[in-house]
């Protein structure tokens, strides 16, 4: 069989800077909480998400763990790893790359959350939990294309897992709980319907993409694409230096993230922005702070600046502005500039 075609290069995507930044921030800081990409057809939404896979870092995980648990993160470990750890004191480790796991819109609930392993039941008469998509998504990116078309009952399941990082299954004869901490990345075309307010709030960031309007850039888009299709080897060779540079930058930022500090003025600014815009709850505040910290690390700094906060506001607030149906909810940056 022919080898699967290599995905597009992330750095070959022209423009769409907000989208690219939002995706990279989530790679640097997996605890950020995902991104919702809204835009018309043909604006490289899916391409960008798939291209991201190539940039993803390698990390340590427990060998043979179905959920890819982190060996040193006792707080979010699955029951099996925790048991092994108490019995043997150490866990066997392996290196694995972070993945982009697809959740197709047509997925049935049992495939998403997991179900009873039929084969095992018939052969042995014992019950065994067969994992679903959410298990594979633990510590990875869960990608939902056309997320607004997802069935409501699948959304319900996603909501809970996304919030708590845990998938609880009590159905079809099985009772099972496992970690499901994933980066939720969704794309949607707003013309095809809205997202439920609950789900939209679960996305930490949102960006709106529009087709490039600049003629030169459009030419570049075409050129890159043609090169990818006609001379893939040359394409990858040409972009490899840029890809490597970005990988290095992400790696540096990951290292810096733990050292990023912020002043109380920064915190106050964030709180004031959220109060001024009257957003629901506190999720916006917390996400904005984490985004600003990650932005600082991405810029190679260890101190959050006011510009980081403004940039973070741009990414975290647009989808939290609407409080009522039919309200034309747009984020008016001038409203918060003076803060």
């Amino acid at each position: 069989m022919e080898q699967a075609r290599k995905g597009y290069c992330f750095t070959a995507i022209v423009g769409q800077d907000d989208m690219k930044t939002a995706l990279i921030l989530n790679v640097i800081n997996p605890n950020l909480g995902g991104v919702l990409i809204r835009g018309e057809k043909g604006t490289a939404k899916s391409t960008a998400v798939r291209a991201l896979a190539e940039l993803l870092p390698e990390r340590v995980q427990v060998a043979d763990c179905r959920f890819g648990c982190a060996p040193n993160d006792k707080a979010h470990m699955c029951g099996e790893c925790l048991e092994k750890l108490t019995n043997h004191k150490t866990l066997e480790q392996s290196l694995a790359k972070m993945k982009v796991v697809d959740l197709p819109v047509s997925a049935t609930e049992d495939r998403v959350v997991g179900t009873l392993d039929m084969e095992h039941a018939i052969k042995t008469g014992e019950k065994k939990f067969e994992t679903g998509i959410l298990a594979g998504a633990n510590r990875n990116i869960l990608y939902v294309d056309e997320v607004n078309l997802l069935d409501d009952h699948v959304v319900d399941v996603l909501l809970d897992s996304a919030a708590m990082g845990v998938n609880t299954v009590e159905r079809e004869g099985v009772s099972y709980t496992h970690p499901a901490r994933f980066i939720l990345v969704g794309t949607m075309n707003p013309e095809e319907g809205d997202l439920r307010p609950q789900l939209i709030d679960r996305f930490a960031l949102s960006v709106t993409v529009i087709g490039e309007r600049d003629a030169e850039k459009r030419v570049l888009v075409m050129e890159n694409r043609l090169k990818y299709e006609d001379e893939p080897e040359k394409f990858f060779e040409d972009f490899e230096p840029m890809q490597q540079a970005l990988r290095d930058r992400i790696k540096t930022a990951e290292g810096l993230l733990g050292q990023v500090t912020y002043s109380s003025r920064i915190l106050e600014k964030i709180a004031k922005i959220c109060i001024a815009l009257d957003v629901d709850g506190h999720r916006a505040d917390i996400v904005m702070l984490k985004t600003a910290m990650t932005l600082a690390a991405y810029s190679g700094r260890t101190e959050v600046t006011e510009e980081d906060v403004m940039e973070a506001a741009k990414l975290t607030l647009p989808h939290r502005m609407r409080r009522n149906p039919f309200e034309d909810a747009v984020l008016d940056l001038s409203q918060i500039e003076g803060i």
Binding site: T108, G125, D152, D194, L289, P325
Partner: protein, 630 residues
């Protein structure tokens, strides 16, 4: 696996949730709490954190739970390997003596709610299934959290919650800053963070357990009983659960405060938590410091399920007042161009008038759905293999395509000791086969067919019509209906918006809809017919509804020599013959009425409404009142 939860003691603010949870830990007889509020207000965090404070465990009920796991069912392993019928207890067994927590409780499947209600009221879980006959006590503290945006709870379910708390985010700057700090610190090092506030957690736990010991000694005088009863009566709380919860709560408050005597303030404070969701009309202001603006009994609708019959229906104001129209159509005094725009060739875009609140304007689903509903999305039993697996049934003679494997194995389990298994662990026979019953939470599909001819421009008709559609769209938005829009004017009918879930887009298209020209009614109906038939092919589960908005007049001819209205009647008959659910909104508001819509309706076999019906029952006034109030 263990869960690392943000410590209860480290949550800032949200005193009402904390109180309600602590009191329930002290006195389980309060009967739980329902927490309703906006997103991101630490609802779930506090509830999960509360487990650390008492002896009770938190048992979570996931939304997609199936009945076998809820009530318990046959132990497969025992049945298959040893041929014994034994019970494998479900969640309700674990929940006995503990807290049963349902996040997003308003989204729980109705048939799970029914099972839950039965056990909650009797305290006993009886299992009669798969050859198992068993019952065990199941007394639990029911805790639920929800976000009202997503739908409401049934009244009798609501009544099961001892207390009700409504929350919103903290507005204080310093609190918000501190909340951020703590959350980020927790995420950086969860176990260290928990360790840091271990002292506070220990103190709180000690206080709660001391209060538990004190609780039986708290005295309740008959005066206190009388006062509680008066308060409950004052809000017309149905049944006695309200005052019982009130007294039990007041006892917990006194015990937590280290007292053995109830005082009046305990009862008053308890009333703020125990009565809002039971109030049948807004309680007088002096009962609460902050009268709850949204008391949650609006879920009472005319489509009550049979169990509800004992509850008196709430006064209509209560229903309407809860549903403030979210749309505020722009109002403009455009009287001066009212009459200039009636020219047949000139386009006129009228803005929407005041919105109406729809008196359950239609329920296109009544015939096909199993709606125990409460103004929330409709549940449609799904014929295709999509939707949530809620139950199972015997396959019978049909071809099995959607096997409920767990149910099939359970059905076969009791007979394994007598069947020939041919080396496998289990032998399944035809009678054992079970197929899934799935339920899909969908809205309907509503196709609006709007007359946009010049006659609609007259007398500001279009303004009213737009307002009416807008109001319907608002209902659709909440119910997640799909909508489409057809307009007919001049010489043709145009599909302005194909059936889409974006109700938003429909609203925008509607706002831009011009009027002018002739009235090709039959073309509008023909196009609607095509769209709906196409939809039926594509989505067999969809329940399309056609809403025709017209005065029934037709002009413009299809073929020379034919009569436009006659053509329209023919088109209408075709729709009627297909059994398409139709509603006609008759916009005829002239002094002399032709009742053309009535004739159309005879062919369409739908429901005929007039603009007056839409505005009936002083609905518009009710909206105006709520607007003034907000």
């Amino acid at each position: 696996m263990t869960r690392t939860v943000f410590p209860f003691a480290a949550v800032l603010g949200q005193e009402k949730i904390k109180n309600a949870l602590i009191w329930n830990l002290i006195n389980p007889r309060i009967g739980g709490v329902l927490i309703s509020g906006e997103k991101g207000t630490a609802k779930s965090t506090l509830i999960r954190g509360a487990a650390e404070l008492g002896d009770m465990k938190i048992i979570e009920l996931p939304l997609n739970v199936t009945e076998d796991r809820l009530v318990g069912s046959i132990d497969l392993k025992q049945a298959l390997q040893n041929g014994r019928r034994e019970l494998e207890p479900g969640i309700l067994k674990d929940a006995d003596g503990n807290i049963l927590y349902v996040d997003e409780v308003n989204l729980l499947s109705d048939h799970i709610v029914n099972a839950l209600l039965e056990v909650a009221s009797s305290g006993v879980n009886t299992i009669e299934r798969e050859g198992i006959s068993h019952s065990h006590p199941s007394r639990f503290v029911l805790i639920g959290s929800m976000n009202q945006e997503e739908g409401k709870l049934r009244p009798q379910f609501l009544d099961r919650f001892g207390l009700y708390v409504e929350v919103e985010g903290e507005k204080d700057l310093i609190t918000r800053v501190e909340i951020m700090k703590r959350r980020v610190a927790f995420e950086g090092d969860p176990l260290g963070f928990i360790e840091n506030c271990a002292d506070e957690t220990r103190d709180l736990t000690a206080r709660i357990s001391a209060a538990r010991i004190r609780l039986p000694e708290v005295e309740v005088t008959s005066n206190a009983h009388r006062f509680a009863a008066t308060l409950a009566q004052g809000v017309h709380s149905a049944g006695h659960r309200g005052e019982l919860a009130l007294i039990e709560t007041a006892k917990a408050i006194a015990a937590f405060d280290g007292r053995h005597m109830l005082n009046i303030d305990d009862i008053k404070q308890a009333a703020e938590y125990a009565l809002p969701h039971r109030a049948q009309e807004p309680p007088p202001d002096d009962f609460y410091e902050e009268p709850p603006e949204e008391s949650p009994e609006e879920e009472q609708t005319e489509q009550e399920s049979p169990e509800q019959d004992e509850d008196p229906p709430p006064p209509p104001e209560a229903q309407e007042a809860q549903q403030p129209p979210d749309i505020t159509p722009p109002e403009r005094d455009d009287a001066d161009n009212a009459d200039t725009s009636n020219n047949e060739d000139e386009d006129d875009i009228q803005e929407a008038g005041d919105a109406f609140v729809i008196p359950r304007w239609i329920d296109p689903h009544v015939t096909r759905q199993i709606n125990k509903g409460s103004g929330r999305r409709n549940l449609v039993r799904s014929g295709t293999n999509q939707g949530r697996y809620v139950n199972h049934r015997m396959a019978g003679s049909e071809r099995v395509s959607d096997l409920a494997f767990d149910a099939t194995v359970r059905a076969a389990a009791p007979f394994q000791s007598i069947r020939d298994k041919a080396g496998r662990a289990i032998a399944i026979e035809g009678d054992d086969l079970r197929v899934k019953i799935r339920e899909k939470r969908t809205g309907g599909s509503i196709l609006f067919v709007v007359d946009a001819s010049a006659s609609m421009g007259a007398n500001k008709r279009m303004k009213e019509v737009k307002a009416a559609i807008l109001s319907m769209l608002n209902v659709s938005y909440q119910k997640r209906d799909k909508v489409g829009l057809i307009a007919f004017r001049k010489d043709s009918a145009e599909l302005l918006l194909g059936i889409t879930r974006s109700v938003d887009l429909a609203q925008k298209k509607l706002a831009q809809l011009p009027t002018g020209g002739k009235t090709p009614l039959s073309k509008g109906l023909d196009l609607a017919y095509e769209v709906i038939m196409g939809l039926r092919m594509k989505e067999p589960d969809a329940v399309p509804t056609l809403v025709l908005i017209s005065d029934g007049r037709a002009s413009g001819k299809k073929a020379p020599g034919s009569n436009p209205f006659g053509e329209a009647l023919k088109s209408a008959e075709r729709i009627g013959n297909q059994g398409i659910h139709t509603i006609i909104l008759d916009t005829e508001n002239d002094f002399i009425k032709f009742h053309l819509c009535q004739k159309l309706n005879e062919k369409l076999r739908g429901t005929l409404l007039t603009m007056e019906d839409m505005k009936a029952d002083g609905i518009v006034e009710a909206i105006a009142a709520t607007r003034r109030a907000t």
